[in-house]
Symmetry: C2
């Protein structure tokens, strides 16, 4: 039977008993499988396999069209030019490339990052920048220095699954605020913050992906940006602006970043993972001076220093290659795939609705009434198509009526084929719903292609 | 006046008031410099600049002989061979090198890591290995999944400064246990664990650097290893074996790792930073199955995945180059430097005492009675020599009568010159002590070389 468990870690809830005193052998037996079960920290009991993680394995199978992952398409990169540049780098500066570096990150790269950010109207100083191991580490460090268990983080509904995982790891409570086609709704934000203040809750951060939102595909309009900043400032809430996709708009110029409108109230996260390549794991955070000092200390505790080899490879790429021309190529490539995606949705899934993103990697699809993206997923994978169910993007269990479809990695042909397969699954689910009044069965009939033993 | 602040972060103690409720603008004014002072997490108030961090800046100045840092000496590496191999790697496997990878780490590299560990008699499976961003990240992840605030970690006295920083960041209480020339003293460990159990303390980990200890330079004898494991097992304490230097012994074969004697009770940390190069930031942890699953989840939350570019560069190095021959070269290089160090100590500082390490990077020097390595450091830097005061290696303020001297990076000539300068400082301190009964003055006379404006 084709079944893909998206939550395959058998992790007890936070209510699991924790013995006090030293963890004597007799107390180790919380589960048969794990002699150290009783020794974990409280936060560990909240760690669960992310849906995206389990899906990476599926996405790698060639017969499955993955509309699930956020992997950029790298075939178009000038690999030989990059390889030659790195060879020269290691030959000429090898003892620096291979050595420990500064905890804050390479100064030359930080200067280049400042130039990259000018494209989104950010006026920063290299001293304000902390280089991180992907912007995921920046999320981890920001959460680490600000969040005590029970603190509130306000985030869009839906919000990035990787950020929600970090927030959960630090035992934050996430409160979602609605979005519409112009992004986060200022009035809803203000209402939520007023309500939380009345409840005596301690709100630390507003987490937002303002451009080509992951997963929703929308952007915060230019008009709303200062409104949101004003509301956050009034409530004493720091804005965490996560912007991996800002330069990947399909039309016109990038919108000014929220950081460009407020130096003191915004922590800005950037990344080379989508505009160049994720394999070096280089991202960054821009922070007000005092916060930046704390972030450097936290990063040194976490990893001592970011990789010189990675940082100098990125720096060399920015110097050697036409990186802005490459981003232009990426924008055209992804626009073509976006068009393939929304064209296929209109053709095969007219009974659903979806956002039409003006950039980035994702569209956010609302299923026909009564269908559940999470329970449908095993059948989808059996039909050789994968996506991320909407529930991954909520901290509160909502989102089952949505799915995230990515158009970044597969070719337009594969995207169309994937949506066609998905339509077969959705239509089959709708039939079940019509006949039985539910799509959920203990042992659903396996009436499609055999998924093979390693999907069983 | 030459002064090097080793603790230049003006961080309030954990007792600093934390406002409740949302952090309204009026409450932001904890310090003038930091509008977000009131918003930090409790753990952040314990973050301090490590002594090693502040010293990195000093160590880079060419006129200072740094006996402080733990940077390996990389001049001997075959940089052109490495550069050519990486060029081929990026040309032929670029879209993998530059892409996201698995959270646990590249499978091929994990197989090679298993082979590396066989040199220390470890029989592990690639599934047991989690690749990390240097072994510092492994320390962070282990502490993250096991330590609640107030939990106890038992560690050698002294212990690695970078580990103590992680433990402090997770609000662990470190209890030190004495060592002697054969490493951690089993009887003292047992006594400490009995006492802590009687006090109702929750002891989670025994942290140890068994080989060529940082900073103490000693190794745990073969005879003591099973004794320590038995004591830890009896008390239900997981052993965290941190082993970056195990292959860098100057005489004979490596001792079997503690992990080779106990699969379930030991978490083993390894690193390529000292046996190859730290610039890629590749380390690893070997853990029992259930713990390994938690570590992968924690690492995905922290960084999504380790760098493919770094991992595949290391993997290529192991395949392309004679890495065991390179380690042999490093051993000879560092033995020569160790000899220079202990020779110079005998010549210039006979009134001190020191360990004679049989491998690794460090010797641990006890100053003559009454001298204080921490208060002496600014005068040492003014005399163009740097070291790490012993206090960095204790969680409880002890260690002022010791200093760590590293012999890994400077040439033998520079080591001898550094120790000669150090002797001048020590003798000057001893004179002050004889004449005034103290070496501590509010405004000590600056009667040596001017340190230049950026050391002022």
């Amino acid at each position: 039977m084709g079944d893909v468990s998206l939550d395959d870690q058998d992790v007890p809830g936070p209510g699991a008993p924790a013995p006090t005193g030293a963890v004597a052998p007799a107390q180790r037996g919380g589960t048969r499988l794990d002699p150290w079960f009783g020794a974990y920290a409280q936060r560990t009991h909240g760690m669960r396999a992310s849906e995206i993680r389990a899906l990476f394995a599926v996405a790698n199978r060639p017969e499955v069209v993955s509309l699930a992952g956020g992997m950029p398409y790298l075939e178009g990169l000038p690999l030989e030019v990059i390889a030659d540049a790195i060879q020269r780098l290691v030959t000429t500066r090898g003892t620096t490339v291979l050595q420990y570096g500064s905890g804050q990150g390479d100064e030359g790269l930080r200067e280049q990052i400042v130039e990259v950010m000018r494209l989104e109207s950010i006026d920063a100083h290299p001293d304000d920048v902390v280089v991180t191991t992907g912007s995921q580490q920046a999320l981890d460090l920001v959460t680490r220095i600000f969040i005590d268990p029970g603190d509130v983080i306000v985030a869009e509904a839906p919000s990035y699954v990787g950020a929600l995982g970090v927030f959960r790891a630090y035992q934050a409570d996430v409160v979602h605020v609605p979005i519409d086609e112009h992004g986060l709704v200022p009035e809803a934000l203000d209402e939520a913050l007023v309500r939380l203040a009345q409840q005596g809750r301690r709100v630390k951060l507003l987490y937002t992906v303002p451009n080509f939102h992951n997963p929703a595909g929308v952007s915060i309009s230019l008009e709303r940006r200062p409104q949101i900043l004003e509301i956050a400032r009034r409530h004493g809430v720091l804005v965490l602006e996560d912007n991996p996709y800002g330069l990947l708009g399909f039309d016109g110029e990038p919108l000014p970043a929220m950081r460009s409108m407020d130096d003191d109230g915004v922590l800005y996260l950037g990344s080379f993972s989508k505009t160049f390549a994720p394999g070096y794991r280089v991202g960054w955070v821009v922070a007000p001076h005092a916060v930046r000092e704390k972030l450097v200390l936290a990063s040194e505790s976490a990893i001592l220093c970011p990789s010189n080899a990675s940082q100098l490879a990125i720096s060399t790429y920015l110097t050697t290659c036409d990186w802005q021309g490459q981003i232009k190529d990426f924008r055209e490539l992804y626009r073509e795939r976006r068009d393939a995606m929304v064209g296929a949705l209109a053709k095969y899934l007219p009974q659903a609705s979806w956002t039409v993103p003006a950039g980035g990697f994702y569209t956010w699809v609302k299923l026909p009434e009564g269908l559940d993206a999470q329970s449908m997923l095993p059948r989808a994978v059996t039909n050789r198509v994968a996506y991320v169910p909407g529930t991954a993007f909520y901290a509160d269990g909502a989102g089952a009526d949505h799915m995230r479809l990515s158009f970044c990695f597969p070719t337009p042909e594969r995207i169309r084929e994937g949506v066609r397969r998905l339509a077969t699954v959705v239509n089959g689910e709708a039939d079940l719903l019509n006949i039985f009044g539910t799509t959920k069965f203990e042992h659903p009939t396996d009436d499609v292609d055999s998924p093979g033993p390693d999907l069983a």
